[in-house]
Symmetry: C2
């Protein structure tokens, strides 16, 4: 993932600039974990089945912060742990991920992990989004200092 310095956009196209931020094999997996699986800590991202390397994870968390997609805070009960959470900009990636799930479920070989979520998306996409966002709100109330 070269040149994702947001200094000067390489492209006169939103898609190009969007890809400079999320156009790689790892970034959206972290966002997935934050959105769908209630993960908020470094070690939790590491535990995902794709087994991201520690240096890549650190790099992506940094880039996501710089891009305004996530923020971080120390764990309120343990200062040796960090909590990562999505900004509104990050939460807005939900729509992109949903479309990727729909595309993948239709055209890619079957895999299990997202099946339950996919069912909820098919049944009632708006409700699904609302539930995902509500869950994040609840988490924030419990864990974030204001």
């Amino acid at each position: 993932m070269p040149n994702s310095s947001r200094d000067i956009p390489r492209s006169p196209c939103v898609i190009g600039n969007c890809l400079d931020i999320i156009g790689d094999r790892w970034t959206l997996l972290v966002v997935r974990d934050l959105l769908f699986f209630g993960k908020h800590e470094y070690k939790e991202f590491l535990a995902s089945p794709e087994s991201i390397a520690t240096n890549i994870l650190a790099d992506r968390l940094k880039r996501l912060s710089e891009a305004g997609i996530i923020k971080e805070q120390l764990h309120p009960e343990n200062r040796s742990r960090k909590l990562y959470y999505l900004t509104n900009q990050g939460k807005a990636l939900l729509s992109i991920l949903i479309e990727m799930i729909k595309w993948g479920e239709k055209f890619l070989p079957e895999v299990e992990m997202m099946k339950p979520l996919f069912k909820r998306i098919k049944t009632n996409p708006d409700l699904f989004k609302k539930e995902i966002l509500n869950k994040l709100d609840q988490w924030e109330v419990s864990y974030l200092n204001e």
Copy 2:
């Protein structure tokens, strides 16, 4: 874009496998050109403002073919030219790109290229999709042998 060999999926998650195909800075720009800008030839992709390198473009066209997203055919009037076109699987990426455009227009610095398209998306997204797909159909009728 490492390991986009579709032999064995690295991930039990559709999003992971989806990213193995479209998770890089170039692939979706080619799809964008095919979907939105009526481009169908190697030299046309090269002419896009992001100035993709020739070896990368050749590689991405190959991968897109292998993934079943595009197909190719010789130009009916000139056998030294090739035409690339989207399969149904490729056309289905439209929904993902639309969400990326919406996200980018909301959170990224202003750029010009997609402004007109974005207006049409905002006005009537379903109509927009239909028009994009119709245009591709028309092109296929004119240029593709069956």
